[in-house]
Assembly symmetry: C2
Homo-oligomer: 259 residues x 2
């Protein structure tokens, strides 16, 4: 029986935990959570505590990274521990580091998966998973590493779609927005104004908003609060093009040259 | 209020549904499910019916593809409908086709996401999501399309990992196994014997088995039943190398030349 179980909370609120995950949290002797690897604006810690039937200790980045998960480690000496995390555990490197640190101390761990934006982006856009190339993050800083643009351009050349993550500023519970990202990209790479892109806000939430258009048109859209990501589609299968029209409001002009 | 809600069942059993998904299924007037887009050996339809509190009508490929979801369409005229599917909805093209067919008839739909192998593979291996290039499926047939090998080789050249899906034969509830896939690859591309690969069986289940080794060593492993996938890692970050050793049993010799 593993001593530490990492449990995904999915995309939107505490109700994104799976039945298996909820069971594990209810049966654990202590429950931790972290909310610094992604923003979950609709998650309510009080509701989460009511669901699992016990206090949830919220850990910040310092608690986990600087002290190598000392609190989790101490709790694991007393009984079974669960760590609740946004999305699907281990997609964030900090979880892998914590898991390795536990293993080094002889503490077994396991993962109970939940939804991640990585697969949800297919549902939200209708774009096919196997056509996605490498994903990349657009930083908030004014200087954008060459590798970001390179990934976008190379994926396009290889007829691969790109999932573009937008930098998160956890302390401010804010994020680089889609219109800000569009402006950055158009400044660095003027020819991108003509590119087809999809802006996705709050995927999985009731007020999910997904819009596909060429970048110049997308920059005029309002997307509201986080979390937000973007997708840059490449060559489209006819069903993908149809889905972008029907589910993401793409117009025929946006799709010209993508067949 | 959408009339049709597609709900993910996650990776392993009916307990991979989220709390939000379960609520939606309980409140729907009819509940459908399909189990042909992936194998879920630990899913028990009787347990699923007990959970949602009503009969679950299981649809096969013909029910959905040949008749454009006629049963779902008819039920949506009577009330709210849910369609339960393996993994995360819409990663399979057949779901997108059904959703488009509903939209054409003016029926709104939405998705309640759950875990998918696409992100779970990061947790199971410790490999970083943003380093994965395009994924590809190895077919069961004796002739393997050039594009499969090309994807593996090109990803490697670009220092990208590859997620390799193994062909599923739903009718027989069977799948191309990891050892079979290894033999196919070594025959087509003898130099791949030396490649580092990860075999993953039943990710998310209690008896999950994940083994990293060079292909010649991996071919001697036993992986048991489905579902199975493989990962071909490229250049490794030191934390990825560490994770492959600690969680996937890679030996130092397997990792030589991957730093």
């Amino acid at each position: 029986m593993p001593k530490v179980t990492f449990i995904g909370l999915g995309l939107d609120s505490e109700r994104g935990i799976t039945l298996e995950g909820l069971d594990a949290a209810r049966n654990a002797s202590s429950v931790f959570a972290e909310f610094y690897t992604n923003l979950m604006p609709n998650l309510d810690v009080a509701n989460l505590e009511r669901l699992v039937g016990k206090k949830v200790a919220v850990l910040n980045r310092q608690d986990i990274e600087d002290s190598h998960g000392k609190d989790v480690l101490l709790a694991a000496k007393e009984g079974d521990v669960t760590v609740l995390v946004p999305g699907d555990p281990m997609v964030a490197t900090t979880h892998v580091a914590l898991r390795l640190s536990l293993a080094k101390r002889g503490i077994e761990s396991r993962i109970i998966h939940s939804a991640s934006i990585i697969s949800a982006v297919c549902g939200a856009t209708g774009l096919q998973n196997y056509k996605f190339g490498r994903s990349v993050t657009l930083p908030a800083e004014s200087t954008v590493p060459k590798s970001v643009i390179q990934t976008l351009v190379e994926n396009k050349q290889r007829a691969s779609h790109t999932l573009l993550f937008l930098d998160v500023r956890i302390e401010e519970k804010a994020q680089l927005t889609i219109p800000e990202a569009v402006e950055k990209l158009r400044k660095i790479l003027p020819e991108s104004s003509d590119w087809l892109a999809v802006g996705l806000a709050r995927v999985g939430a009731r007020d999910q908003l997904v819009k596909a258009a060429r970048l110049d048109r997308l920059s005029k859209q309002t997307f509201g609060g986080p979390p937000q990501v973007m997708v840059f589609p490449s060559k489209l299968h006819f069903m993908e093009a149809e889905a972008l029209k029907v589910f993401c409001g793409a117009e025929d002009g946006d799709l010209e040259g993508t067949a």
